[in-house]
Amino acid sequence: MQPPGRNTLMRSPLAGAQCMPRLMLALLLLLLSIAATGTADEAQHTEYRIKTAFLYNFSRFVVWPEEKLQGRSEFSLCTLGNTLFGEQLDTLTGKTVHSKTLVVKHFDKPEDTLDCQLVFIGQSDELGETLWILKQLPVLTVSDAAAFTEKGGMIQLTVVDNKIRFRINIDAARTAGLTISSKLLSLAISVTGAR
């Protein structure tokens, strides 16, 4: 299985090798695939380590309505569906966000995430439905799915020039009652929605 970000993040080693003789090519393919697999794994690992930090940092630059956080002892950072974070997100467990203890949770059904403060939505066919469910709830939605903000997601992670950047749909956040720090806004590649 190939993650969608893989091609954009790293060019395939096979791309420029089409004119090589067959045997040589086969041999090279074998060798490089082994090497590429290792390299690709490492790159992916790095990418998600950064994204993990981003998720944590997003939570710090967004203000949730106070009444929604009151009485809670935890700040739930959730993933929905399949993601490539692996175990990395768990490193955030125990950190403090808005005076709450951060907990990482994994869900497969959108309706399970209603109580989360931040949901990272993995690759899903049901993206539209998920967003619809979470709309107007004080849940910060984040995803690296393409055109996520245009579909009503709040923060979309993307890779530009080998660097991870993000887009923000400020309307979606506002509708959900979330306030996004201007500092965060200033770092975004684009901020959509009426101001």
């Binding site: 950064i50 930090a53 981003f54 940092n57 710090r60 630059f61 660097k163 991870i164 950047r165 993000f166 720090s181 500092k183 965060l184 200033s186 770092l187």
Partner: protein, 717 residues
């Protein structure tokens, strides 16, 4: 200019320099303090500004750091372009890599390693570095680095230095101008004082005064100075007055004397001068010019002969400088010789004119004191000689303190010939050394004998008055122009039953020392005046009575009262009394003698100077004594007219007496040749064996009666 040179600078400049220096130093210190404080403050301010800037950067770059947005971080540093003093800035992420950086265009600066965990501000020579943590929600996420130049601070410092220098310069100028004026408050009076003092010194004009109205210490100084000048001027005037008076008198007398001197100047004397000079060298010490042993011996012999004739006393002082050998050995013969010359000069100045000081050789001196009236005289003079040599002598830069040991021998007590006297003086000098130096010692053994003799004489003398052993003899005084006896001189004799007739020269000193002189003197006065009264009653009404006085009488306070009482008791007019003193008697106690003589003269008695020419023949003293009559001593008369020298002396005395308008009496006229000589000189009053020896009162009456009878023999051929 060093401090020593300052001594020569005038006080005016010193004060100015002082004030300017003090003000400059204080201003400098204040400026240094001010600049230092300002620099510290400026650094603190610069540090604070830099910290604020770093905090802004930290706040603005926190999100960029967290989201690894280097571009955004870079933008947060963008505003530094407007800050001229920022040379470089950087944001480091936690993995110690430069996340974003800024360098002022045109400046190449190596960014430091960011492994600095602590926040810090570092002031280097010409730039400041600041490291500040970037925190987000209590978590350090990076470091801001800022580097600023110190130009602002440096410029400020330079500016301050310029201002301080300008202020210093201006204030020094102002201080200089002010102090140049203010110091006059002190220096002007001082300079006035100094100028006047110098003028007084150079012009000897004591009428100058310093003006000034200060009421401080300077005012007091000026007042005191002026008062001092008042005093000096007053004294000066007084002195000038005295001097001009004296000069006038001396001039008058000098002109009179010149006439007399003209008569003395003979060509024969000039010829003798050369011979005398040659003789001088034979008889004087080459080193000191003092008489040598040869001359001394001559003089001693001469004086002893004289004393023998006159029954007088002569003293020898044997002087030996203490420790002279040490000086000679340690400082050399040149210093020793110089010292001897100085000592010789002092000795010569110290003694009486008739005394002789001779150098015997080495450091031994001998002083011959002829015609002393008692042994105490010798001791007194010896003491004086010792004192004369006490002042330190400067020889080639050495301060030499000289003491002397003196041995005294006296003729006739201690010996009758020069050799014995010198020997005895020498012995007693050694005794003085033994007794601790710087002393005068009489010749001991003989002295004891001397005092025994004196004691015996004193006892006898007491009895002499009671037992009526004192006699008065009378010698006539003749006016040869009228061939009449005009007066008699009373002469005292002591007729001792066993010792025979004793001369007053022998017993008067004893009487003086023992206090017996008062009753003896009164007895003489009363007896003589009573006798005169008798003669007056016998018809010799113009007869005067001359009586000799001794020094103890003269120095006795109220002596004029004794004389007045005696005159009154005998009912004798004062003008009939003539009191005679010898020069030496007068000189012995000059000031009281003058006082007494003047009082006596006010009584109306005549004062005569006896033995004139034998003593301290100073015209100056003679002028001061209220003398009416001068008696030429018989020693000058004896060899007249055979001795040319005596003739000259007699002529000089006669000329002098005429100049000073003094009456003259010639004593000791023994033959007609002498009489004729004095007659030619215009001297009419004479006394001597030619006209009668001293005789008893009865005999005198016979002489008087014979004289006054008509057809008496004219003694003058």
């Amino acid at each position: 200019m060093n401090i020593r040179d300052l001594g020569r600078v005038s006080i005016r400049w010193k004060l100015t320099l002082l004030i300017v220096t003090i003000s400059t130093v204080s201003l400098l210190l204040a400026s240094i303090a001010f600049i230092t404080t300002d620099r510290i403050n400026a650094q603190k301010t610069a540090g604070n500004n830099l910290a604020t800037m770093a905090e802004i950067i930290a706040a603005n770059s926190s999100a960029a750091l967290l989201f690894r947005d280097a571009r955004a971080a870079q933008e947060t540093l963008g505003f530094l372009k407007a800050q001229q003093h920022i040379q470089a800035a950087a944001i480091y992420s936690m993995d110690n890599t430069v996340f974003a950086s800024y360098r002022k265009p045109g400046i190449a600066i190596q960014l430091p390693e960011s492994n600095i965990q602590t926040e810090n501000i570092l002031f280097w020579g010409n730039y400041v570095e600041l490291f500040t943590h970037i925190n987000y929600e209590g978590e350090q996420i990076g470091i801001v680095y800022l580097r600023s130049n110190m130009k602002a601070i440096h410029d400020r410092l330079v500016w301050f230095l310029v201002i301080v220098a300008a202020v210093l310069l201006v204030s020094v100028l102002i201080t200089f101008v002010l102090s140049a004026r203010l110091q006059r408050i002190i220096t002007d009076p001082l300079l006035r004082l100094s100028a006047i003092a110098r003028q007084v010194r150079t012009e000897k004009n004591y009428s100058l005064r310093v003006s000034g109205e200060n009421e401080d210490e300077l005012g007091n100084l000026i007042t005191d100075f002026n008062a001092m000048l008042d005093e000096i001027q007053a004294r000066d005037n007084e002195l000038m007055e005295h001097r001009s008076m004296l000069e006038e008198r001396v001039m008058q007398r000098t002109s009179e004397l010149e006439i007399a001197n003209a008569r003395l100047a003979t060509s024969k004397e000039q010829a003798e001068a050369v011979a005398r000079r040659m003789e001088y060298h034979a008889h004087h010490d080459a080193l000191t010019g003092l008489p040598n042993r040869v001359l001394l011996n001559d003089r001693i012999t001469a004086e002893l002969a004289h004393a023998r004739r006159q029954h007088g006393m002569v003293a020898l002082l044997f002087l030996d400088l203490d420790r002279f050998k040490i000086i000679n050995d340690s400082l050399g013969h040149a210093v020793g010789d110089q010292l001897l010359r100085v000592i010789s000069r002092r000795l010569a100045n110290c003694i009486r004119e008739e005394d002789t000081v001779a150098r015997l050789g080495g450091d031994e001196f001998m002083v011959l004191l002829p015609r002393i009236s008692g042994s105490s005289d010798a001791g007194r003079i010896a003491r004086k000689v010792i004192d004369c040599l006490l002042d330190p002598v400067s020889c080639n830069g050495n301060e030499l303190h000289i003491t002397t040991s003196v041995g005294i021998s006296i003729y006739p007590h201690d010996g009758t010939d020069a050799e014995t006297l010198i020997k005895h003086a020498d012995i007693s000098m050694y005794r003085a050394k033994e007794l601790g130096r710087n002393k005068a010692v009489y010749f001991t053994a003989e002295m004891n004998a001397g005092s025994r003799k004196q004691l015996a004489m004193e006892t006898n003398l007491r009895q002499a008055i009671a037992r009526n052993q004192l006699r008065l003899l009378y010698q006539p005084k003749v006016d040869i122009s009228r061939n009449t006896i005009v007066g008699v001189e009373a002469l005292l004799r002591w007729v001792h039953p066993t010792m025979g007739i004793i001369s007053p020269l022998d017993f008067i000193p004893v009487a003086e020392d023992s206090g017996l002189i008062a009753p003896i003197g009164e007895w003489v006065l009363n007896t003589a005046f009573a006798q005169l009264k008798q003669w007056h009653k016998s018809g010799f009404t113009d007869l005067t009575m001359a009586i000799n006085l001794c020094s103890a009488q003269l120095s006795r306070p109220g002596f004029e009262g004794v004389v007045a009482k005696a005159l009154q008791a005998a009912d004798i007019e004062a003008r009939m009394a003539e009191l005679e003193i010898t020069e030496n008697v007068a000189m012995e106690n000059l000031e009281p003698a003058i006082v007494t003589l003047e009082k006596l003269k006010r009584l109306g008695v005549t004062i005569a100077m006896d033995d004139f020419g034998t003593g301290y023949s100073s015209l100056g003293y003679l002028r001061r004594l209220p003398v009416d009559v001068v008696k030429i001593d018989q020693s000058f008369v004896r060899e007249i007219p055979d001795s040319h020298e005596d003739v000259l002396i007699a002529q000089a005395i006669i000329a002098m007496a005429q100049s000073l308008r003094l009456s003259l009496v010639v004593e000791g006229v023994e033959n007609v040749r002498q009489l004729n000589f004095f007659r030619q000189q215009g001297c009419n009053i004479v006394q001597g064996f030619l006209f009668g020896k001293p005789v008893e009162a009865d005999e005198m009456l016979r002489v008087l009666s014979a004289r006054s009878a008509p057809g008496t023999v004219n003694l003058v051929k």
